[in-house]
Structures are given as structure tokens and as C-alpha cells.
């Protein structure tokens, strides 16, 4: 038996304990209304997410829709609901970058204090430099940074370094980030924070895969121009200078070759600019990822290691597999031993 309620045909045999049914038009209206209300409530965050997305048609359309919604949301104060919730949760009101796989993972091997004093070579009464003589009580403090490719290296590298018992490695990575869009995720600010917290003697960085896009400015600096190249190299130099500002050494790992030729070409440019930047900053070692995961600078899904095929790349043709990360980690450890004189095995 049915009746009309709220303009909808409902099953009248439904009592208060039974979920009622509705006609499709009412359900469509309900869903559309709920979505519209949610868009209004969340408009400020959605507007920010659109702003920090890659420049293109999708971003333009999203901004055209969300900007007026966000303005209404602010005017009517409904955005305070979300900002209050974020405040309670201790989060920034706006988004802070892509999906996070790993944030700072403090090492298990702890030094005596959480904040370490900077090392002054002129003070002879301090303990030996952990870079040259790390011990379990006074381990070498390493900071590993990067985007998703940096995480592909960072996880295995952190594991490898921790297994020595002489290195306290902190991993700080965030997917979909880079140096080009600080509005999406501000790596220079994050570096400042991480350097302050960890005060590392060694920094290892691998990032850049998300960087081939225009600088938002203003003014917008289009990717593929000489101006873009100069600005990118300048940002890389500033980043490297900050990473070595406390006397730390920096190992900057290049991006491996990509399966897609267009992407490979773009990242080849990024690699070249990062390499040029590394040459300008003292204390930076530029380490090529090619020998371990893309021999000869060509993309390959497999390499031969110890006489066996090892899959070094993920099926997406971009990311490095866990085995590839392990091989690349050994390259970093080799550089630590031979270029920095760190006595680890």
C-alpha cells in the first residue's frame, strides 16, 4: 500500500522501524541537494585543491565552479564548520598536498636528546663527527626526502641504513610533490622544519618527477621555456643550499629513465637542471640512478643482479620497485662510503 509523502510515493506499510523507499525523482533530488550542500560546506578546501592542481582545462573548469561557491561559503560563514573541525583535529584549514604514504618516521635508534646541537669543528671537546665515526650511541643522522620516487628509494634506504646500527635515518616523503608548486606542497618550508627537527649530517634527496609543469607565479612561467629552466635551477640551488646550511652533506639522486618517451624527455631536462644546480653548491654529491635501475640511461623493467633478473620498475613504467629501491640504496651506501668516508657496510 502506498501514499504520497513529501511529494514522493512511499510504501505505507513501512513503519517507523522500516527504511522507506522513494520514487527516483525524489532520490535524484535528494542526492543532488546533498551534493550541493556538501560542495558549499567544503568549498574553501575544494577551491584550494583546485588552485594547487596542475594548470589546464580541468583546473580552469573547477576554479570557475568552485570560486563563486567558496565566496558564498565564506560570506554565509558555513565554511566555519569545516575550519572548526580542522582546528579540532589540529589540521591546516586547507589541503596540504597529495595522498601521504609516509611522513616523518623517527628512527628507532635514538640519540641522547631529540634536538641535537649543531656540530662546530672548532670545539675540540665534542664527540667525534658521526659522519666519519658513527657509533650506536652517536649515530649518523640522515634525512631522506622526496616525492613518490623518493619514497621508492627512501623506504629501502631507511631500512638499509637502520640495519647498520650506525645510522639514524628519518624519512620524509610526500607523493605528487616537487619544487615547482609550493602552493601544493611547500618543500622549502618542509625542509626547514625537518632540518630543525633532525639536524642531519647527511641529506639524501630524490624528487622532480612532478616538476615539469608551469610555475604558477604570478607571473606564470610556462614549462619548456628558457625562463622556466633558469627559475627551476635557481629553486634547486636554493633547496640544496638550505639542505647543506648546517654543514650537512647532500646526496642528490637523479631520476631514472621512464618508459614513456615524452616523460623521459621531460625528466631528462629536470635531471640536467638538477645536476647543474648540484655543481654550484658545495657539499653536494650528484648520484646517477642509471647504473642500478636504468643502465645506459635507457628504460628497462629488469636488470641482472647476481646473475638473476630483478624487476626494478613498477608496471606503470614510472616508479621504482622495492627491489629496484634496494639496488639504488646500495648505490647511495656506496657513495656514503667512498665519497664521504662513512665507515658503514
Amino acid at each position: 500500500m502506498t501514499a504520497e509523502v513529501d511529494g514522493a510515493v512511499v510504501n505505507q506499510t513501512s513503519g517507523p522501524q522500516q527504511p522507506r523507499t522513494l520514487a527516483w525523482r525524489s532520490v535524484l533530488g535528494l542526492m543532488a541537494a546533498a551534493l550541493a550542500i556538501w560542495l558549499l560546506l567544503d568549498a574553501v578546501t575544494l577551491e584550494h585543491n583546485a588552485e594547487v592542481s596542475p594548470i589546464g582545462t580541468r583546473r580552469s573548469v573547477a576554479m570557475a565552479v568552485l570560486r563563486p561557491l567558496a565566496a558564498i561559503s565564506r560570506f554565509t560563514q558555513v565554511s566555519r564548520l569545516e575550519s572548526t573541525a580542522n582546528g579540532v583535529l589540529g589540521r591546516s584549514t586547507v589541503g596540504s598536498g597529495g595522498h601521504t604514504f609516509v611522513v616523518i618516521a623517527p628512527p628507532v635508534v635514538q640519540a641522547n636528546s631529540t634536538k641535537h646541537p649543531p656540530i662546530h669543528p672548532s670545539v675540540t671537546t665534542l664527540p667525534p663527527d658521526p659522519l666519519q665515526n658513527p657509533t650506536a650511541a652517536n649515530p649518523l643522522r640522515a634525512l631522506l626526502l622526496g616525492d613518490s620516487l623518493g619514497l621508492d628509494l627512501g623506504g629501502p634506504l631507511q631500512n638499509r641504513l637502520a640495519s647498520t646500527g650506525l645510522v639514524a635515518a628519518t624519512l620524509d616523503g610526500k607523493e605528487s610533490t616537487g619544487l615547482t608548486r609550493p602552493d601544493y606542497f611547500d618543500w622549502p618550508a618542509e625542509l626547514n622544519r625537518a632540518m630543525e627537527q633532525v639536524n642531519p649530517q647527511l641529506v639524501v634527496v630524490m624528487m622532480g618527477a612532478n616538476d615539469p609543469q608551469s610555475f604558477l607565479g604570478p607571473p606564470v612561467i610556462s614549462y619548456g621555456t628558457e625562463q622556466w629552466n633558469r627559475e627551476y635551477e635557481h629553486r634547486a640551488v636554493r633547496f640544496m643550499r638550505k639542505a647543506t646550511s648546517n654543514g650537512a652533506r647532500l646526496i642528490w639522486v637523479s631520476l631514472p629513465a621512464m618508459r614513456d618517451p615524452a616523460l623521459a624527455a621531460r625528466l631528462g631536462t629536470v635531471n640536467a637542471l638538477q645536476k647543474a644546480a648540484a655543481a654550484k653548491v658545495p657539499g653536494v654529491i650528484y648520484l646517477s640512478s642509471n647504473p642500478s635501475v636504468s643502465p645506459g640511461g635507457e628504460y628497462t623493467a629488469f636488470v641482472t643482479s647476481n646473475g638473476q633478473n630483478v624487476p626494478v620498475r613498477e608496471p606503470d613504467g614510472v616508479h621504482v620497485s622495492a627491489q629496484g629501491g634496494a639496488l639504488l640504496s646500495e648505490e647511495v651506501v656506496h657513495a656514503m662510503r667512498h665519497d664521504l668516508g662513512v665507515p658503514i657496510r
Binding site: 523507499t21 535524484l28 550542500i37 595522498h99 631507511q158 637502520a162
Partner: protein, 475 residues
């Protein structure tokens, strides 16, 4: 197009409106659903729509040939050819690279390396799911359990977007009759659907994402950096993560189908309340385990035959079930562990039966002990499922055994609370969802819209920025 995105929400509004406006015109409705489903799949990669169409054609032609012949031997041949063709496609995209690498490694051992070309085909999303559905359709036709469907019906059955990416693995007998029935546009079970969708979103966007980033990913990416406690809780955390991720997806899929007037089978039934492995597999990924039972285990002989034959059947089924998830030795070991566990349980049951002993009805305390033990065993197997390699798996295991006495930096009260809450909820039978649906649907429509929007806001606020893909979509 991932479910928990604005893109999908807008897409679904259009599908819903167009679908129901065509509800009185079944052919147009099917064409529209098919078009929307192909569009949905093409969003990932347009090339693979052709693959989906190809498998549909193979299943269609094969089932027609099987049905048309009266000769059992010919029908059997056509069944093998059709199923074989579908498996060849799945095998190429999913397993060719794996076998090539391993075969080459084997040949290298005798100095014959570099003979096999090493390939790494791009894996089409959801290929395991729709291939298994196509196989079940063909086999059901060959068994006389199903009449061959009209081509459009078959195409919609295989491509229907709510189940396309990560199941449930729906049988032809479950979905095809629904495509023929007229769905009532005036009686949409929207509130139950809404509760399912919200529940699924919460599990996936909030719980699964949180546990992954808070403890699971750090532990598995760098076991040596974390303590034994971190590793142990990290493994339990993965059990919660994969459950919330996968069952969350299934809840959303079932809810979406319900909104379109289609009923999907249940795919999860509180799996971590299982008191033994057999019970676990009746509660975890139910549609896959029944597929394995009906199309692999029983044809192999099932429970018939000697103890060693039954053991063989169980092991083969579980190992192949493991490999279904991915082309890696760790997935095989995951299946192997479950197989061994089930064989041991089977042998014990048979021994009790042979001695004339009735099955033990456990006391409450014993039952709790069995549930805890089953959960720990399942978690042990999950280590291999999650690990990137055997080295990684044993590193995590090793950490659990030897990493005590060090400080934990990942186990926080919120992590523990989340894990315990999810596990406890599974122990309690509840009709809370039904009651919530009833309560909510009896509010004024405007209030319903407002509460729905606020709940969505809570989910998006609690969840991370950006959307992580579902774990099972890569199978």
C-alpha cells in the same frame, strides 16, 4: 574514476537520472548502462575497453556454441576452448612477465640465460574480476544452469560499472534475471543504499587511509627502523586496512547497484569473527571463495576421494587463489599458508568423524581463543600478501620476534583504538545499519539532504587530502 571522487559523484547523478528515466524501455536502459560502464572503464585507460569487449565476444560466441550443440563431447571442447581463450588473455596480461622472468632465471642457472624475452605488459585494471565472471558464465551455460544471454545482456553483465573494478564477482544467475525484470522506479531502496555507501566511504577514506599512513606503510617500507611492537601492530593494522579498503569498496558497489535497482551478493560477513579458516573463507571475499569452490575445488574433486586427494584439491585451490591476486611468489605463499591451515583443519575434522566423535561445541572462552588464534594466523599470512618480497616479509617477521625492548614510535592510542574498534565491531551482530536507514529515511527530505551532506563533510575532513586507490583494484 575512483568511487570517492567528485568526478564519480557527478557521473553517477547523470547515470541515475538517465537510467531511471529509461526504466520503462529495457533495451535503451541496457544500452545506456553499457555506454556508461564503458565510459567508466575508459576513464582509466581507453585501450582496455577493447579488451573487455573482446572477452564479452569470446564468452558470447563460446556459450552459444556450447548451447547449440547436442553432442556432449563437442560442448565440452567448446567449453575448454572458450575458458582457455579467456585464461590466455588473463595469463598474458597478468602472468606472462612473471613466468618469463622466473623461467629465464632458471635457465640462467644452467647457462642458458637471455633466451626468453622479458616483458612487463601493462596490467588492465579489473581484468581478474571480469575474466572470472566471464568464465563462470560460460561454465554455468555448459552445465545447463544458465541459458545463454542476449549479447546486450551479457555485455551489461560483464561491464556493469558498480562491480567492474573490484567486484563482487557476480554470477550470471544473479544478475542476468534482474536485467530482464522491470525495476520499480517508485520504490527505490535509497536509504539502505545510502547507509552502505556512507559506511563504505568511512571505512575506505577514513579508517583504511589512516591506518596505512600511520603505521602499516612505515613498518613495511622500513622494518629495521621500527620496534617489534610497531611491527606487530603494523601487521594487525594491515588486517584492518585491507578489510576496510576492500569491504568499503564492496559496500559502495552494492549501494550504487541498489540505487540503480540491482541487487549484488554480500561479499564480506565479519571475517575477523571467524573461529577457523574454513569459517574465515565463508566470510572473506565471499564471491571469490565461492567461485574457487564451484569452478576449481569441486571440479578437481572437492571433498571426494582419499585424504591426500582432498588435501591436494585444497592446496591447489588456495595456491591458485593466491596467485589470482597477483603474479608474485609472495601471493603464492599467502595462498599456500591458507591451504596448509585448511588441510590441517580438514584432517582433524575427518579424524574426529572417523572416531565417531561429534564436532566440539566450544565454550565461550574457547570460542574467543579460536577467534584470536584464527585472526593471528590470518595476520601471519597477510604479512606475505602485503610484503614486496620474501626479504621484506621475513624482515617484518624478524622484527616482530626480535625487535622488543626498543621504543615504539608508531603505536599511538588512536592507532590502537582504531584497530580494536574495527575488530570489536565484527564480533557484535548488529542491525545498526538497518535501524539507521529507517531512522534517517523517516526524516523530512530536506533534513535528510542536510545530514547526508554533513556526514560527507565529516568523512572528507577526517580523510587524507587526495584519494588513494583501492588495494583490490590492482587485481
Amino acid at each position: 574514476m575512483l568511487f570517492p571522487t567528485i568526478d564519480f559523484a557527478l557521473f553517477f547523478l547523470v547515470v541515475f537520472g538517465v537510467g531511471w528515466s529509461l526504466s520503462g524501455k529495457p533495451v535503451l536502459w541496457k544500452l545506456a548502462m553499457l555506454g556508461f560502464s564503458y565510459f567508466f572503464y575508459a576513464w582509466w585507460d581507453p585501450r582496455f575497453v577493447l579488451l573487455l569487449i573482446a572477452e564479452t565476444l569470446i564468452a558470447h560466441v563460446g556459450s552459444r556454441r556450447i548451447h547449440a550443440t547436442r553432442d556432449e563431447a563437442v560442448a565440452k571442447r567448446w567449453t575448454w576452448v572458450t575458458v582457455g581463450g579467456l585464461l590466455v588473455i588473463l595469463g598474458y596480461f597478468k602472468y606472462a612477465g612473471f613466468f618469463a622472468v622466473n623461467l629465464d632465471n632458471l635457465l640462467r642457472g644452467i647457462g642458458l640465460g637471455n633466451l626468453i624475452p622479458l616483458i612487463q605488459p601493462t596490467l588492465p585494471i579489473a581484468i581478474s574480476f571480469f575474466t572470472f565472471m566471464a568464465i563462470s558464465y560460460v561454465v554455468d551455460v555448459s552445465r545447463g544452469q544458465l541459458e545463454p544471454a542476449a549479447p546486450i545482456d551479457l555485455a551489461v553483465y560483464l561491464a556493469f560499472f558498480p562491480h567492474l573494478i573490484a567486484g563482487p564477482i557476480v554470477r550470471g544467475s544473479e544478475l542476468l534475471p534482474q536485467l530482464k525484470r522491470r525495476r520499480d522506479p517508485n520504490r527505490i531502496d535509497y536509504s539502505r543504499a545510502a547507509v552502505l555507501i556512507i559506511q563504505g566511504l568511512f571505512k575506505k577514506v577514513v579508517i583504511s587511509s589512516y591506518i596505512a599512513s600511520a603505521i602499516v606503510d612505515p613498518v613495511f617500507s622500513s622494518p629495521s627502523s621500527h620496534s617489534g611492537l610497531d611491527a606487530l601492530i603494523g601487521v594487525w593494522g594491515y588486517a584492518v586496512q585491507i578489510y576496510c579498503d576492500f569491504s568499503g569498496y564492496t559496500d559502495i558497489a552494492i549501494g550504487l547497484a541498489m540505487l540503480l535497482g540491482i541487487r549484488f551478493p554480500v561479499n564480506f560477513d565479519a571475517p575477523y569473527s571467524a573461529a577457523n579458516l574454513q569459517d574465515f573463507w565463508r566470510r572473506w571475499h565471499i564471491t571469490l571463495s565461492r567461485w574457487l569452490r564451484d569452478y576449481l575445488y569441486i571440479p578437481l574433486g572437492g571433498n571426494r576421494g582419499s585424504q591426500s586427494e582432498v588435501a591436494r584439491n585444497i592446496m591447489l585451490t588456495m595456491i591458485l587463489g593466491g596467485l589470482w591476486h597477483g603474479a608474485a611468489w609472495t601471493f603464492l605463499v599467502w595462498g599456500l599458508l591458507h591451504g596448509v591451515g585448511q588441510v590441517v583443519a580438514h584432517v582433524r575434522r575427518e579424524r574426529r568423524a572417523a572416531q565417531g566423535l561429534l564436532p566440539v561445541v566450544p565454550s565461550r572462552l574457547r570460542h574467543v581463543g579460536q577467534v584470536v588464534f584464527t585472526f593471528q594466523f590470518v595476520c601471519l599470512a597477510w604479512i606475505f600478501f602485503r610484503a614486496t618480497s620474501f626479504t621484506n616479509a621475513f624482515a617484518v617477521l624478524g622484527r616482530i620476534v626480535t625487535g622488543w625492548g626498543m621504543g615504539s614510535n608508531l603505536v599511538t592510542p588512536m592507532v590502537l583504538l582504531t584497530i580494536v574498534a574495527v575488530l570489536l565491531v565484527q564480533q557484535m551482530p548488529t542491525r545498526l545499519g538497518e535501524r539507521l536507514a529507517a531512522m534517517w529515511s523517516n526524516l523530512h527530505l530536506a533534513v535528510q539532504a542536510l545530514t547526508l551532506a554533513i556526514v560527507l563533510l565529516i568523512i572528507t575532513t577526517l580523510g587524507p587530502t587526495g584519494v588513494a586507490p583501492f588495494i583490490y583494484y590492482r587485481f
